[in-house]
């Protein structure tokens, strides 16, 4: 940024800096961000933090209680499960798998959805309108249901469940992108750019995309929270990730068998999923209000 010689005491931040400033002002949003950052760190650095191996079974140490109970030991922070696997390690790897695959799912759905939505928004015609309304109708069906149907066709497994959820998330991106692009095309600055001689592609990249980033951020956080819930739900139902893969839903399902003997097997993965989704939603909400404040400023 160049040195301004106008008002020295005045600092004009760029739109992103203003968004960050109003996001920071909300304590709850910052808390959510810290939680989410913690989960991301766990996901990225999983092999470095975990003391044990995720699938190694230890017959001698079945159902050891977690460290805060009197019988537990510090060597197994969250205790072990029915096959002697360390729960702490499994949870960390679980965060990695759940969050990681949810993230990949959302990115893929966003790329496909935004491209389709942009095409539909910038071109006109009766056929595009019909396609859009069909996709909009798909949005009325819950994503989990669509994912289950697709998994029934493709078969079980983590990768198949990821494909299923990607396909289930695409209609929402298409819908929001299309309505946004259509509204933008009517704006006066787009007309001015068209008069300057911009082609449709140049219009999109230089004029519409900078305005679209806010909407995309909001939609992707929503989609991320849906993806996390759906992946763990599919894992729980044994339709997605299969045991012994340490996905959070799978851990929860495994723990269900011994729920009365060793409640921590159910509580700990459940809390992990709960806090993960909570932090994503809080951050998404904070971003939404920060962005709304910026527009109305």
């Amino acid at each position: 940024m160049p040195q301004f010689s106008l008002y020295d005491e005045e600092f004009h931040p760029s739109p992103w800096q203003r968004t960050w400033a109003s996001f920071k002002a909300s304590h709850i949003s910052m808390l959510g961000l810290i939680m989410l950052a913690l989960f991301v760190v766990c996901a990225v650095f999983a092999p470095l933090i975990t003391p044990y191996d995720a699938v190694e079974q230890n017959i001698d140490g079945l159902l050891i209680p977690p460290s805060w109970v009197t019988n537990g030991s510090i060597s197994h922070l969250f205790g072990t499960d029915a096959l002697g696997r360390d729960l702490f390690t499994r949870i960390i790897y679980g965060c990695r798998i759940t969050l990681g695959s949810a993230f990949i799912t959302v990115v893929l759905a966003m790329l496909v959805g935004v491209s389709l939505g942009t095409f539909a928004g910038m071109l006109r015609g009766v056929r595009s309108s019909i396609a859009n309304h069909l996709l909009d109708a798909l949005m009325a069906i819950p994503t989990l249901l669509i994912a289950i149907i697709i998994v029934a066709i493709l078969g079980t497994g983590l990768v198949n469940s990821m494909w299923a959820i990607t396909l289930a998330l695409i209609p929402q991106f298409v819908h929001h992108t299309r309505s946004f692009v259509r509204a933008e095309m009517k704006k006066e600055y787009i007309v001015a750019s068209k008069l300057d001689g911009a082609s449709k592609w140049q219009l999109f990249v230089h004029s519409i995309l900078p305005n679209m980033t806010e909407m995309l951020v909001v939609q992707s956080t929503l989609a991320l929270s849906i993806a996390v819930i759906d992946i763990s739900a599919l894992g729980f139902l044994n339709l997605g990730a299969q045991s012994p893969l340490p996905e959070l839903g799978v851990i929860l399902a495994d723990g269900l068998d011994v729920a009365y003997l060793a409640p921590w097997n159910v509580a700990v993965p459940g809390m992990a999923i709960f806090f993960m989704v909570l932090s994503i939603n809080i951050v998404g909400d904070g971003l939404r209000s920060a962005l709304r404040k910026r527009v109305s400023h």
Partner: protein, 267 residues
């Protein structure tokens, strides 16, 4: 010497026939218009008389249905269907829209906004475009530092100047403006009027503008065109129209204006 000649410009807005509804037809034209180099022409008339439509047709924001426009000996048809039809249009005619705030993209800084016409139309590399843009900013009365400003940091007078800079950065011969002074405060309005007069002198720009403010029209226009119902009902030199209006619509407008001017006050 005529810099722009418009022949038989026509626009027929025909809403497709829907069930149980008759189609609405608004026909503009055929319009014939000649503009000399450095001349200022004001278009006045009631609302919905087709003034904004004419401005948009002249500059090419809407495709016309018939007619020929010749600017600076470059002749082309006013109607275009495909994109290469639009390529043949020239950038010698540019437009300023009424709401300067809406014609600026809120997420794009001023420098990039002004860079766009240059990037799309001249083959100059980035290093050569930046000094042109900075010169343009100084010329319209802004500072070089405004290159990095966003829309929300500028006052509406400054936004109007950015719109003006964007229009003249390609060095056009004709500038079309749709009510450029309507949303401005009086002191900013005077500054903008002076700016346009100076630019006209420097660049030999012809200026076609739409306005309701007959005081400004009388002061800066060389010729006045009166429109009603999509047609030009009267045109002529400013003083002639103001002193001896012929058509009923012109008479109504001039009488309304004269009743506000100091010597014939209402009370």
């Amino acid at each position: 010497m005529d810099i722009m000649q418009v022949k038989d410009l026509t626009f027929i807005h025909n809403e497709k026939k829907r069930w149980l509804k008759r189609p609405e037809i608004f026909q503009l034209g055929p319009v014939n218009l000649n503009v000399k180099r450095g001349e200022t022409i004001a278009i006045i008339g009631e609302n919905r008389s087709g003034k904004s439509l004419l401005a948009k047709l002249l500059v090419g924001a809407l495709p016309a249905d018939a007619g020929e426009i010749e600017i600076n000996t470059h002749k082309y048809l006013a109607k275009y269907q495909s994109k290469d039809g639009q390529q043949k249009r020239t950038h010698d005619i540019r437009m300023i829209l009424q709401h300067s705030a809406e014609s600026m993209n809120p997420s794009v800084p001023v420098g990039k906004i002004l860079d766009e016409p240059l990037r799309l139309n001249t083959g100059l590399p980035q290093a050569e475009r930046k000094p042109i843009i900075e010169d343009m900013l100084v010329k319209v009365g802004l500072l070089r530092e405004h290159y990095y400003f966003y829309r929300h940091m500028l006052s509406d007078g400054q936004q109007q100047r950015v719109a003006l800079a964007r229009a003249i950065v390609l060095k056009p011969k004709v500038l079309v403006a749709d009510e450029p002074f309507a949303a401005l405060d009086p002191s900013i309005r005077s500054q903008t009027v002076n700016l346009i007069l100076q630019l006209q002198q420097e660049l030999g720009l012809a200026f076609v503008f739409i306005s309701h403010n007959l005081g400004i029209v009388r002061h800066i226009a060389d010729r006045v065109i009166v429109m009603e119902g999509g047609e030009i009902v009267e045109e002529g030199k400013t003083e002639t129209i103001f002193r001896w209006p012929q058509h009923t619509r012109t008479k109504k407008l001039i009488t309304a204006y004269q009743s506000l001017v100091p010597q014939n006050t209402i009370r």
